[in-house]
């Protein structure tokens, strides 16, 4: 490599399955899949940002070896089809009578997303001598009702292509899909391997990091390695000595901290300012109402409040979130919650 990569999170990105931090049991299991040269459909579940996709991609890479590129694809279920793609699906749905085959003269009724994004890949034959293709579907829960259509595909093309489904929210996946997959629950890296990784990076970048700092880093990032490395890099810009104060300074600008200040502003009862802040957050991070509510809930649980008031507040968030399912304007729905928290804060 001729040039240094300036972003550490990219620089220390794992290149093989072995380099992944911690989670030895899981790695052992995946390695046994590779050894036996066979594996069932997989369903990876776990919180956001802890490396589910990285693990799945590196596993596929190790499994397929040289034949990785032609036999691998990653699909995002949460990205909606563009209007052109939808049009294409409509025109392709009707098979002309002049064509040869059992489909001639019929209309294909597969949902457009599956028809366009998934079928073309899984229908094609395996390239080279690989045992089968591998398809990763991210945010699988976003498929919604299309999951029903997907389960047929899993059966009929299962021998040709194995699927690795990735989700953060296993409860919104229908049972038939779960029963067709091997469920792997992925947790964050354990503290010892996290510590070793950070120490390794500190060593390479010649930083001085104390044990206590690493402990704090682990706690605030909840074991999300990429966020931890980001924070480490931010704290080390001006001096090689990373200590607690610097970590705290840099924390303020992170989005969790923004959400926290949103909560605190609402507790103070300053509605206009809180609404302004929530709008800023929504605009710069492109959060939907649901995402904001989820982050608010996470931050709320960390605050030192009585269980009673926490339960009350959770109730408020849950009600607001429920309304946002059908609501059109996310700003109104978030403002509604903020107004209620402002009012409720008088009684805490």
């Amino acid at each position: 490599m001729s040039k240094e990569i300036p972003i550490w999170r990219v620089k220390y990105f794992p290149n093989t399955l072995e380099q992944i931090c911690g989670r030895e049991k899981l790695k052992g299991r995946l390695n046994s899949f590779i050894k036996s040269n066979n594996f069932p459909h997989l369903l990876l579940a776990g919180p956001e940002g802890i490396g589910k996709t990285t693990i799945a991609t590196l596993f596929s890479k190790a499994f397929l070896g040289d034949l990785f590129n032609p036999n691998f694809r990653i699909v995002y279920a949460d990205i909606p089809l563009t209007s052109e793609e939808r049009k294409q699906a409509r025109t392709e749905a009707y098979v002309s009578k002049s064509k040869i085959g059992s489909l001639a003269g019929r209309t294909i009724t597969t949902p457009a997303f599956l028809q366009l994004k998934i079928k073309p890949f899984i229908q094609l034959k395996v390239f080279g001598g690989a045992s089968f293709k591998i398809l990763i579907i991210k945010n699988f829960e976003a498929l919604g009702s299309n999951q029903q259509g997907f389960r047929r595909l899993m059966e009929s093309y299962g021998t040709n292509c194995r699927m690795i489904l990735i989700t953060t929210n296993i409860s919104s996946i229908i049972d038939p899909i779960i029963s067709r997959c091997q469920l792997l629950i992925i947790s964050a890296a354990d503290y010892t391997s996290f510590k070793n990784l950070i120490l390794d990076i500190a060593n390479k970048e010649s930083l001085i990091v104390k044990n206590k700092t690493i402990e704090l880093l682990y706690r605030i990032t909840e074991g999300k390695i990429s966020n931890a490395i980001d924070l480490l890099q931010l704290s080390s810009i001006n001096s090689k000595n990373v200590d607690l104060n610097k970590l705290y300074d840099n924390l303020i600008s992170s989005q969790n901290e923004l959400i926290r200040s949103l909560l605190l502003l609402s507790f103070k009862g300053d509605f206009s300012k809180a609404r302004e802040l929530s709008r800023n957050i929504q605009a710069s991070y492109r959060y939907t109402a649901h995402e904001i509510f989820k982050l608010l809930l996470n931050e709320l649980l960390k605050l030192p409040l009585s269980t009673f008031s926490k339960c009350k507040l959770i109730d408020l968030i849950a009600n607001a979130d429920f309304r946002a399912i059908d609501g059109l304007d996310s700003d109104i729905q978030v403002s509604n919650l903020i107004a209620k928290i402002c009012y409720f804060s008088e009684f805490i």
């Binding site: 040039k3 990569i5 300036p6 972003i7 999170r9 990219v10 990105f13 940002g49 996709t53 991609t57 995002y76 949460d78 990205i79 909606p80 209007s83 991210k138 990429s226 966020n227 980001d230 890099q233 931010l234 810009i237 001006n238 840099n250 600008s253 992170s254 989005q255 009862g269 509605f271 206009s272 609404r275 709008r279 929504q282 605009a283 710069s284 991070y285 492109r286 959060y287 939907t288 607001a320 309304r323 059908d326 609501g327 059109l328 304007d329 996310s330 700003d331 109104i332 729905q333 403002s335 509604n336 107004a339 209620k340 402002c342 009012y343 008088e346």
Partner: protein, 453 residues
Amino acid sequence: MPSKLKKNIPWVEKYRPQSINDMALPTAKIKGHKVKLNEDLKNFIEYFFKEIEQINIKNRKIRQFNRTHLEKEQKEVLKIAPEKAAILLEGPPGVGKTSIVYALANDLNMQVIETNASDTRTKANLEAKLKETVKTRGIMDYIMESKRKLILIDEVDGIYGVSDRGALPTILNLIESTQFPIILCSNEYKQNLQPIYNKIKKYEINPLPDQEILRVAKRILKEEKISDLSEEDLHLIIEKNNGDLRGTINDIQALSQGVMDKEYKDLILKLHRDSYEEIFKLIRDLFQKVRTLKEARGLTDKSDVDYNFLYKWVNENLPNFINLKNEITNAYDNLSIADEIFGRIRRNQYWSLLPYFYDLFAGGVALSKSDKSSKPGFRRVSFPRYRTSGFFAVTATEKLFTEKIQEKYNISEREIIQDFLPFLRTLCRSSRRQLKEIAEWLELDAKEKKLLK
């Protein structure tokens, strides 16, 4: 008798321009490039007739071939390309879109066949009115050498709902099979017109400059021999109409033919053509005057502000008018239910729920305020600044930026925007060296660098 008749015609019709050369011509753009509207339109029509003549000659040969060689494969009949057969004029009301078409037809000695929003434009109706004239030339046309025709489909954006069912496909069909040039007019971008935008050229027509309107208005005043309208008031009217020539002429007529003893300015203020002023007033009335649900209902019923926007205005201005916490809470409770109901209406077409939506977002919000806290007086009304989109979307620059990142570091678009980009921003803000290094690493250009600042 004739003179009396002439007096009763609206001046807008009376002074409709006869030729494109002596009218107040608005400027126009295609995809951001300025074009000369009169030349472009004339060229379009001339070119169309040339093209259609050639196609007709070829088609005649093809039909003859098909008739004589029944055993061979039948040839397809040629069709004119849609962008050569039709154009779309899009611009604010009253700048002269319809007038241009009539003036042009007059110049070129053509006959205009028009349909507009006052006709119900179902498939059957449109076909009855247009298709016969469009598809074939009548026998009489050959015998009498009648005028050439120009088809004007006015107020395309008014095609809407059940009463106009099937109109859009019919228009698209017409564009493909027409024998005469078609000009479509519309006021604003509409999602459901997308198939039309995809097929034909769109001229964006700008509002008229004020001097141009002043020139026309003075000419009319001179011809009508009206002298008691002061220059100042004339300017006020023109300013209020904001580039709308038709609105200006209507206002002048209303003023000069109305009761003369009343103060002009009072009258001018009563002519609410400026929609923002109307919304401002509506919002103020809603929060400060309304006492009962019935009054609130009356207020929203009377106004012709689109409720799609109105409830966003209510959302924006709610904290300006309501200060007490419990009242804000109640108001937002009602507003969020209204939003929920509106979502159900839009998603599932439950239009029968609309009354609940109206009552909740207007009356329900305004009446959350008790009388104690309602101080009369002037409050600032602000525009709804914040726009929400229901799903995750990125701009064009962001798209390029994410693609560049994805080459080096393969994570999804959403992760880049929500997680990676904020980190890069803080990193770049803390030191210039980092910005330089990152820009070099990702090979960013100046526009993309701005994203990092």
